[in-house]
Symmetry: C2
Subunit: 220 residues, 2 copies
DNA sequence: AAAAATTTTTAGATTTACCTAAAAATTAAA
DNA sequence: TTTAATTTTTAGGTAAATCTAAAAATTTTT
């Protein structure tokens, strides 16, 4: 059994490992909002427990055990987010912090029943996949909206930025999950993207377009 | 803001204060499953924070602030228990431990929405009253089943013992919340109580009868 | 391949919540 | 009202998770 803190380290290492194989001390420190020296201490502890492989100065990778533990926490986090949005009517920009706490509640029974209560959802309110109780989930192939060309169509199925400010912005524009879109223009001047929605057109900056994930209906 | 541990101390002091005015160090230690020396340490800390009044060797009492904090934790505990039973189909003997963890999740918004989602319940699965968001709740006047005389009738509305063993026992006998009962006999030999239910008679020991709470329909 | 910059680790402290053992105060018994 | 038993506190320490400052290793730049 891991401590609250150890669980947070595992989860953060897991997420960082989605981008780089060997996760660096400084990167962990930044995510954990702590100092590199503290990270080194914790890494040693996790290595002693067999949760990470660690070579001094070379960063860490999760062991199979460590990865499973991390995925379990991700599962809990995302299920709780679904609960908060679907059952308690939270907005998608309001759920992350509470889920950060709820994910540490230790009860397998609780999570299985919650999963059932929610109807075994496949994705959380931000479009991120929810691992099943065996830790399995489809590695979804999203395209970043910014990679689409004029005329391409698709459906918004995720975001790669979870800050409240960003999510509220999308909400205001009507760019929420499940919304079908078509790229109507890409501005020469600043590269901003004009998007055709069912009832209106909206213009978003490249920065915003980078963080919207699309399941493409095929290019044209 | 209190730590997880401080919250547990406050809650335990609150419950102990329902029986005695000045709560003793040893009593707290027993409930907290820790040593008296540790309790003294924590009491000093809580006193410094203005959550308890403390005179050396004289025990503690909660301040107004401390009491409010304690009631808030009790509220969360009981609401989560209702959630677990009503929504996730846990049995009344399975919810306490998980609620012990959930009660520490820090989000006023979460609890208010949960309360609403549950339909603003007035009592938890054990019949204990749930304080409203202002900390107010009716001080329910229960009679212990053991105090009833032959011929008295009433309804089971609470239990004063929350152990899984006890609750499972009651469940098996059909003695659950809301069940109307009538005392049909009190055995001379061992003082055990014979109870008439809608469809059957059951016999319970004095020890069990002590921990069943009845809202009386009046004596006869 | 040095020098410079960056990253990571070690060393030594701090804080929180514990602990044991022993001293002090209070309460109960003789 | 002494003595005995109980309760509570103090003193001194431990383990987990931090921190700062300084040393060591690695990487990047000249
Ligand atoms: Mn989240
Ligand atoms: Mn999410
Ligand atoms: Mn309970
Ligand atoms: Mn209860």
């Amino acid at each position: 059994m891991q401590s609250y803190t150890e669980e947070n380290y595992l989860k953060i290492i897991y997420h960082l490992a989605e981008k780089t194989t060997n996760v660096q001390t400084n990167a962990i420190a930044e995510q954990m909002q702590t100092k590199p020296a503290s990270v080194t201490d914790m890494i040693k502890k996790l290595a002693d427990k067999g949760l990470v492989d660690y070579i001094k100065y070379q960063g860490v990778t999760l062991t199979e055990t460590g990865k499973n533990a991390a995925i379990d926490i991700v599962r809990k986090h995302r299920l709780w987010e679904v609960f908060l949005v679907d059952k308690l009517n939270f907005k998608w920009d309001e759920v992350h912090d509470v889920a950060e706490e709820l994910e540490h509640i230790k009860s397998t029974e609780l999570i299985e029943r919650l999963d059932e209560f929610l109807g075994f959802p496949k994705a959380d309110p931000h479009g991120d996949p929810i691992p099943d109780k065996n830790g399995r989930f489809a590695k979804t192939q999203f395209i970043k909206l910014i990679e689409l060309k004029v005329g391409d169509t698709g459906t918004i199925t995720g975001v790669s930025q979870h800050s409240s400010a960003f999510l509220k912005h999308l909400e205001k524009l009507g760019l929420t999950l499940g919304i079908p879109i078509k790229i109507s223009d890409i501005t020469d001047f600043d590269g901003s993207v004009e998007i055709q929605l069912a009832d209106k057109q909206v213009n978003i900056s490249r920065e915003v377009a980078k963080h919207i994930l699309i399941s493409s209906n095929g290019k044209n």
